[in-house]
Amino acid sequence: MAEAGELLPVSPQSEGRREGGEDTQEGGAAAGTADPAPPSAGSPGTEEPAGDTKKKIDVLLKAVGDTPIMKTKKWAVERTRTIQGLVDFIKKFLKLMASEQLFIYVNQSFAPSPDQEVGTLYECFGSDGKLVLHYCKTQAWG
């Protein structure tokens, strides 16, 4: 089944360096990869339709503020992956220390709890076949 070129959990090519302001699209990969519309009921034996029934969720990660931008922004993530798991992953990717804090937001303003699953978030906040998450390196207390 065709997946967008970048939607692979590839090993990091380089740490995310600040690219100055808003994230930019990676070399040539189409931003709005067209997910095929789900086939109508009664198409036996065809490929799995894109979107809700896929086991993995397409996630687009966007940096907020001064947080380093990830070189690879699009990831295919297991539905059952939790926010905490995703935070750990991004922190490793950006080579942050365990004690540095990273928060993930939906709708740019709401932080789901650490045990929330990506699949659930996609169902609530996904659109165009993907879930956009903003992440921010920040201290939450002190």
Partner: protein
């Protein structure tokens, strides 16, 4: 519809302090949603009605129990201690003592406005069902696992015990010194897209989980419902 600009005194690029009046308005919006979904938040006022705060009580089940004789021994991983204890003694009566029974803890959370910090502050207290309050150490241990690394770097910067400004009773408080900092990032970001953001909802979604307080995802949609028309037009119909 209230404009976001009115509510913040923008001294610098990153100053998004919350005015008390705006705090109350956000709380009101928050309570309305809470009543809709029935998750138990209330608005309480001080006797002279001058001050108000959000309040919620719930129960949590701990995943481990701490037999009294182990509590004082070690400040490290208690589960490890339990495991070791079981291995050392095969005596049935001793094993019974460390059986991992679930224990219920009653948490009470208050969201107050701090006029000195000009941000909301999360106060809370917790006690077992027999009324015994949790110690500061037990509270630190109950902080969600994903925040433990940061907590251990400076527990005294994180949660300490203070007198509740309105009730005068001892409560735990999550230190608010960084609130303006992280809220500024959130607000700058959502402001760019012309989104209405409920400060209290955003803030609580970030700090709440640290101390076992989670908000339903429907609160996130509360913010989206108030998006401007321009934003709505951009979203294609499914």
């Amino acid at each position: 519809m209230l404009h976001i600009q009115m509510s913040f005194s923008v001294a610098g690029e990153e100053d998004f302090f919350l005015e008390e009046k705006r705090f109350k308005q956000y709380c009101e919006e928050f309570i309305k949603h809470s009543q809709k979904i029935g998750d138990g938040w209330e608005w309480r006022t001080s006797k002279d009605f001058a001050d108000g705060y959000l309040s919620k009580t719930h129960f949590q089940i701990t995943k481990r129990s701490v037999p009294p004789d182990l509590k004082e021994k070690n400040n490290d991983n208690i589960e490890q201690m339990l495991f070791m204890h079981v291995e050392e003694s095969l005596d049935d009566s001793q094993v019974d003592g460390v059986c991992a029974t679930a224990e219920a803890i009653r948490y009470e959370y208050h969201v107050l406005y701090s006029s000195s910090y000009r941000v909301p502050v999360l106060y809370f207290r917790a006690c077992f069902l027999d009324g015994r309050p949790l110690t500061l150490d037990e509270i630190w241990k109950s902080v969600h696992a994903c925040y433990q690394a940061r907590l251990l770097e400076g527990p005294w910067d994180t949660i300490t015990q203070q007198e509740h400004p309105l009730l005068g009773q001892p409560f735990f408080v999550l230190h608010p010194c960084r609130t303006n900092e992280f809220m500024s990032s959130v607000l700058i970001s959502s402001r760019k897209e012309n989104r209405h953001t409920n400060y209290i909802t955003s803030w609580l979604s970030i700090v709440g989980p640290v101390v076992g307080l989670n908000l339903s995802l429907s609160y996130a949609k509360l913010a989206s419902e108030q998006n401007t028309d321009a934003d709505l037009i951009d979203r294609p119909l499914s």
